[in-house]
Structures are given as C-alpha cells and as structure tokens.
C-alpha cells in the first residue's frame, strides 16, 4: 500500500504556545489510523492543519505523493479530506438532506433540486446502513448518533478519500459504537482512509490498524500495530511514564456522616420521573445510564438550571428554591457541566477570571474587585491542580480540554462548596490527566464534599462512586453500593432493565 497522506515536520505556533513541534504522520488508503495523545499533545491542532483551518508555520503535506498547500477548508475538501468533529458542525434547523449537501447542493441554473438531493441523501444513508434516518427531518431533532451519521454522510457526499473522526464515540452508546465501527469498516473496504482519534484504548484495538502517538506537539512513535502494541507501552509513549490506569482506593463512608444532599421524587415530564437519592458528606454517588436516560437532566435539575415539576432538593435539610441556580450556589452546590465550552467557561477571559467568577464577593469590597487577591487565589489553585500552561492570565480558550476541566473544578474549589455535581468530568480528557482528575475527585470527597457523578463510562462510575443509581428512560432502576454490582450487570440494567 502506498501513502495517501504524508505530513512531515509540521510546526504550528500560537501566541505563547508551540502547539505542534515537528509532527510526522503518514496514512495509507483503506486503513484506520489511530491518533493517540494526551490533551494538549496537539491532536486537535494537527487535525485543523490537515483540514485547512490552520496554516502550518513549517513542514510539508503531500497527498498521493504530490505536495499540496491546504490554505483553506475548501482546499482540503477539494483534496478529498473531510472531518467529523467532536462538536458536530451541522445546522440544526436544516433537514438531513440539506445538511449533507450543504455548500454543494445539486442545482440547475441556480435553483436547488430538492428531490435529487433527497434521493441521493437516502442513497448515501443506506450505504452507511442507516436508511431509517428520514432525509427530510430536521437534524436538530435527531439523536447524537443520528447526527454523527449525517456528518459522515456529508463527508461521503463530497467523495472524501480521507475522513478524520475526532472522538466519534464520545457521544455514543455501546450499541451505536458497534454500528459506527461497521460503518468505518465499510468505508475502509472502499479504500477510504480514516484517521481515528479516541481516548478509549479498547476501541483502538478493535477498529485500528496502525497508531501514531503524539506527545507535546511532536510524533513520538508512528506505525505501531494497533492490536499488538501493549497498553503499557502506549501509555508510556503518551505520558513518558509508566502508570497503571487505576482508580484511587475507596474510603470507608461512616454511616454517621451527615446527609448533605437529599433529592426526593424529582420529576420533569418527558425527561425523568420519581428520582430520589441521598448523598452523605464524603460520599460519591454515581448516576449511570445511556445517553438520553435523563442523567444530565437530573443533575441540572438538582442544580436548579432546570425547574422540577414536582419533588424537592434539600441541602443540609434546607429545601432549595426550585429552578434557581443562585439558590443552589448559595447553599454550596457547584456544577461542572457536560459541555465545558458552552456551559461553563468564558473562553476569551483569563484563567483567573474563570476561577473567581462564582466567588467574586470574596474579592470585592463595596463592589470593587481586588485583582491582585483574585490572581493570587487563582494561582494557588492552578498550581495545586497543575494547570498547564502555568499562569493565570491566559485566555481559557488556549488551554486543552483536561486543563479547562481543572479550571472549572478550581472555580468550585475556591467556593469551598459542599455538594459538587460532576457531569462527564473526564470527557475529552486523556488517560494521564484522567487519573489526576480521579484523584482530585476522591480528595474532595475525603474532605467531606458530597459528590454526584454522571458518566457514560460505566467503569468510571463503578470505580469512583460509593453508591450507584442506574437510570433507564428517566427512571431509577437500581440504587445500591458500587461494590455489589459489576459492569455487566449495570449494562444489562441500562439496556434491558432486567433484574440483577
């Protein structure tokens, strides 16, 4: 097989950060090439260079042996490169067919040919094994998995030879992941190359052919066998250290520890019903369930970001006013939401402003802020949490996902909150930073914080939580200690709802 894509010595600098520092990548036609690396290793930047969104400062790109300049996204598309991003770039109001052909609608004399577009969209969807997605439906009404299929269909409609998939499985359930893999195998059988980015090593083993490992903006290993390379070796390459991927040891929760958070009969019609659980000081309660089972909705309702139809939330026995975030924050509740960028961060503001935003009162007298005190308090936290790059003046936008998550956690640490609601705390966070975040969560609970954890990774819920609430279609189907249940039983519960 010859190389479809060759990238050599790619360098890309941003103000203050050398994001790529000599990256080499070669991708062959018909292979699934996995890109591994910690957050901040440069994967996302590399993808943006490849798709023409960023121009490299140095290095060469050649496609089929021909040196090319990808100086705009359009140029990349014309060369047959398409990308499916973590945050899907679809227009929710437009139909499936319109999204697939966005920018190259079948037309004659400037009039779009809608029937042709619909028919061709159907063809492509069927080719992907998803003929059941109606081409005329608006994309916004599709579930995440369906939207991803539409993204893929869009790439195919442009006759892409190389499709980049940035964490495509992050929003998918196990069953949908299996389906995704079927689609990918169909693509590679046709000679399409796939660059696959994921933090889940077992997926890489399943679907990948070769692996390239990035670290600190440079290629540290390339052409590794995706199936035969031992996990320890991959982690060593990514981190420069040899660690086991473990959860910190669980502590004994005293039954005398006071109940901090009480959730009773919480209901929002169409989302979830009759949810109730309690969390003691120092306890971690995990909510497990599929996407759409109501996990995030429960968390946001506890926080007051959504208003409960019935039911109550009490902190230290005092009921919170429903639908009021301020009430929850004032009572000592903090939320690290699922969508960090759109729900938690002020991307263009400095790190320290993002940290102090919920505790401004502490740094103000008579409404005037003490900037120095703010910076000092924030710097103390960023040092303790090892946020990189160090320095509290950087806009949060320049930080990697794992470091952005640490900034969000620092915000609630600064408030010394009593209840912490964590929604997918390790989404888009690499293995190394993950164990740091796990340890951080455990340390918080050891200090008496009551924690509610939502994660789509069952292993994470079982590994971290003391007790588990399993949700299926908006109802709690199981509540019990985490030690008494294993991954298979949880999966069985969330998917089938059969008895343990």
């Amino acid at each position: 097989m010859n190389d479809l894509l060759m990238m050599t010595g790619i360098v890309k600098e941003f103000p203050g950060v050398r994001a790529l520092d000599g990256v080499d990548l070669d991708v062959r036609a018909g292979e699934v090439h996995c890109l591994l690396g910690q957050n901040g290793a440069g994967k996302s930047t590399l993808i943006r260079v490849l798709t023409g969104a960023h121009q490299p400062d140095a290095g060469a790109i050649s496609i089929n042996g021909e040196q090319v300049q990808l100086n705009s996204p359009t140029a990349a598309i014309q060369r047959g490169i398409a990308a499916i991003y973590q945050e899907l770039d679809l227009v929710p109001e437009l139909s499936v067919a319109e999204n697939i052909f966005l920018g190259h609608e079948p037309s004659r004399f400037g009039f779009s040919r809608r029937h042709e577009a619909t028919a061709r969209a159907r063809e492509i969807l069927q080719g992907l094994g998803h003929g059941e997605i109606p081409a005329h439906r608006s994309v916004g009404s599709l579930p995440a998995a369906g939207q991803q299929v539409v993204s893929m269909a869009r790439a195919l409609s442009r006759e892409a030879h190389l499709i980049v998939m940035d964490e495509p499985s992050a929003v998918l359930d196990p069953e949908e992941v299996a389906n995704l893999f079927r689609v990918i195998r169909g693509l590679t059988a046709r000679g399409v190359a796939v660059v696959y980015i994921s933090h889940r090593l077992e997926e890489i083993r399943q679907i990948g052919d070769r692996v390239t490992v990035l670290k600190d903006g440079a290629t540290v290993a390339t052409g590794l066998d995706a199936r035969a390379t031992p996990t320890k070796e991959l982690i060593r390459l990514m981190t420069g250290r040899s660690i086991e991927y473990v959860f910190p040891p669980r502590r004994e929760i005293l039954s005398t520890a006071p109940v901090v958070l009480e959730v009773e009969d919480l209901t929002r019609p169409g989302e979830f019903a009759g949810i109730g659980f309690t969390v003691r000081a120092g306890e971690i309660v995990g909510l497990a369930g599929l996407v759409g089972s109501g996990r995030s909705e429960v968390l946001e309702t506890v926080y007051g970001a959504r208003r409960a139809a019935t039911g109550s939330v009490r902190v230290d026995g005092v009921p919170l006013r429903p639908g009021r975030v301020q009430a929850a924050v004032k009572a000592g509740v903090g939320l690290a939401p699922e969508e960090r960028k759109s729900q938690a961060l002020l991307l263009d503001e400095a790190v320290f402003k993002n940290i102090t935003v919920s505790s401004m009162g502490r740094f103000a007298s008579g409404g005037f802020l003490n900037g120095r005190a703010e910076r000092e308090a924030a710097a103390q936290l960023t040092t303790a949490l090892d946020v990189r790059p160090a320095g509290v003046e950087y806009p949060v936008r320049n930080l990697s996902g794992g470091n952005q998550q640490k900034v969000v956690l620092a915000r609630w640490l600064l408030r010394e909150c009593r209840v912490l609601l964590l929604d997918e705390p390790t989404r888009g966070v690499d293995v190394g930073a993950r164990s740091e975040i796990y340890a951080l969560i455990r340390n918080l609970s050891a200090n008496g914080v009551a924690i509610v954890l939502v994660s789509s990774e069952v292993e994470e819920v079982l590994g971290l939580a003391d007790r588990v609430v399993v949700l299926r279609e908006g109802r709690a189907v199981h509540i019990g200690p985490a030690q008494d249940i294993d991954e298979h039983q949880v999966l069985d519960l969330v998917m089938e709802g059969s008895a343990v």
Binding site: K330, S342, L346, A364, L369, Q380, G391, G402, A410, G432
Partner: protein, 348 residues
C-alpha cells in the same frame, strides 16, 4: 477544606502537556491587550483628523474656543455612548437611547416641573430627567430579561413609544426653559472648562471604573461573553441584564439634562439618531457588537473622532450629507482595521 488538602495532585509527576511559555512571551501578550496597544489606531485616527483640521481651517480649528466647542458637542452623545458601551458589552443593544433623551427632556421641562424647579430648586428638573430615563431603561430591561423579547425588538418598540409619548406630552411644541438657575449652572464653566464637559469626564471615568474594577463590570463581561456559563456559575443574569438597560436609560437622562442646558429647550425632536451615533462610536472604539468585550476608553475616542470630523466638515462649509458619507466610511474602515489587528493578535 483547605486548598492544599483538597487539591493535591496525585503522586505521579505530571507530564508536560503543553510547552510552558517563558514569562517574556506572556508579558508581550499582556502589552498587546493593554489600553495603549489597543487604542493606538484610534489615537492615530484622531491625530490625523486634527492635522486635516489644522491644514484646511487652521485659523479657526486650532483655537481653544473651538476645542471647547468640540468637547461640548461630544459631551452629550458621549454620555449616551458610555451607557451604550455597557449594554453592548453585556450582549445587548439599545435602539431607544435617542427617544429616551427626547422623552426625558420633555418631561423635565413641562410647566409643572419647571414651576416646581423655579419655586424650589433646579435639582427637580434633573431628577425628573434621570427618573424618566431610568424608568424607560427599566421597561426595556424587564421586557428583555424576563419577557424574553430580543433586545433589538424591545428597544425598537421603546424608540417608537418614547418619542410618541414625548410628542403627546409636549404637543409637538418646543418647551423653552425659563429656570435661569438651571441654565446658569449647566451652561457655565468650572476652571475654564464647560460644566457639560466635566459631566462627560465624570461619567466616562465612573464608567471606566465600573466596567474594569468592580464585580458589576466583571459580570457584564461574563453575561455578554457567555450568558449560559454565567448563569450556571451563579450570576443573576436576568437581574444584571435589567441593571444594564437601567444604566443606559440613566445615561440618557443625564444626556437629556445636558442637551436641555445646551439648547435651553426640551423637545420631542431632541436626540434624533443618537442610537446610530452611539452604536457607531462604541463599535469603532473596539467594543464587540456580539458582547463580552468592551472598552470605555475606546468609546470616548470613538465619540471624539466623530465630533471632530463633524467640526472639520462644518468649518470647511461642507454639507451635513457629506459628513454622513464620511462617517459611514470611517465606521467601515475602523471595523475592517480592527478585525485585521484582532486576527493578527490571536494568530501571531
């Protein structure tokens, strides 16, 4: 819980995740974002305008009296623009500023109000104007924050309604101010500088402090930059939005007082197209129309540039229409330049 206990990273030494920047690079980015670097273009534009003024009408342009005239003219729209800066930084827009100025000026110059003022003190006229402005702003804010009406529509409705109300109250007649103490105070000078200019300076200084040094300002940036994140961080986004529009209305009340002093009248035609002048000044000053970024210093420069431009054109006997064309061109050039500079600053 102490920070050290709660936040100690796990025992393994963390890997370097991104190249750590040397402190020097950090300082230089700081300078780019400092007031000097950001406003350099505006200073240059203003200086260029002055040079044109000196060349074309040197004998009348470069006099102390003319400079004071420019400042006096800049003062009224300047105060309105400071309020507008807050609203736009907070992610909104206020199209009703001109109408609010008109309504406040009319309400503060009714026979009843003037009678009260001449009997007791001119402060009653001032209070009336401020209360009327703030009340209109309150209506705007409540509609937008709690009624979920988009700012463009809510303030467009206020634009129509407030000016209409001003016409009803004044019966479309210009109301002459007969309270001499009012005119004497606001029309006078302090240390050789007109009181109106002092007011503008005070409002601008207070605005700068409020935006850059207080929790109110920080919340404004947060709400304008990402209102959902601000809400989930525990900021009272709705209440803050109301406060922003009240602030804009209050600025319009102040501007109405200043305009009343300058023209010695209250009229439903006061403040025509102030909304456009104010938005233009704010935007060329460097405040982001989509919210989240705002600068009071930039707004002051924006106002001065437009006022100086008008002055130079007037001194050269050029028509108002020609001024408008030049104004349009300046807005476009300024925004284009700023986009280039911003792009260079982020991608260097």
């Amino acid at each position: 819980m102490t920070v050290e206990d709660g936040a100690r990273p796990p025992e393994q030494t963390a890997s370097t995740q991104a190249t750590v920047t040397p402190p020097a690079a950090q300082r230089s980015t700081g300078l780019m974002h400092s007031g000097v670097g950001r406003n350099l273009g505006l200073v240059v534009a203003l200086v260029l305008l002055c040079i044109v003024g000196v060349i074309t009408a040197g004998h009348t342009f470069a006099t102390g009296a003319n400079v004071l005239t420019i400042l006096r003219l800049a003062a009224v729209i300047g105060v309105v623009s400071i309020g507008m800066t807050f609203v736009i930084t907070g992610g909104g827009i206020d199209l009703s500023v001109g109408a609010m100025v008109a309504l406040a000026s009319v309400w503060a110059t009714t026979l009843a109000t003037q009678q009260l003022a001449s009997d007791l003190h001119w402060i009653f006229m001032v209070t009336t104007a401020l209360v009327v402005g703030a009340a209109c702003g309150l209506v705007n804010g409540l509609l937008i924050a709690y009624g979920k009406v988009v700012p463009f529509i809510a303030t467009l409705a206020m634009l129509a309604a407030a000016r209409g109300l001003a016409e009803i109250i004044s019966d479309r007649k210009t109301q002459i101010i007969t309270v001499n103490s009012f005119v004497d105070f606001f029309g006078g000078s302090l240390l050789g500088v007109p009181v109106l200019v002092w007011i503008f300076l005070l409002v601008a200084a207070a605005g700068w402090v409020l935006l850059n040094r207080t929790t109110f300002g920080r919340r404004t940036f947060a709400v304008g930059g990402n209102s959902e994140a601000a809400r989930l961080a525990g900021i009272k986004v709705q209440r803050h939005t109301v406060a922003l529009y009240v602030l804009a209305g209050l600025c319009c009340g102040i501007a109405a007082v200043m305009l009343m002093a300058r023209t010695t009248t209250g009229s439903s035609t006061h403040g025509q197209l102030y909304e456009l002048d104010a938005i233009a000044a704010v935007v060329i000053g460097g405040t982001l129309l989509s919210g989240g970024r705002g600068t009071i210093v930039g707004t002051v420069f924006g106002v001065l540039i437009f006022t100086t431009l008008n002055n130079v054109f007037t001194l050269n006997n050029l028509s108002i229409s020609a001024q408008s064309v030049a104004k349009g061109a300046i807005i476009v050039i300024a925004v284009l330049l700023q986009q280039r500079l911003a792009a260079r600053a982020t991608s260097q």
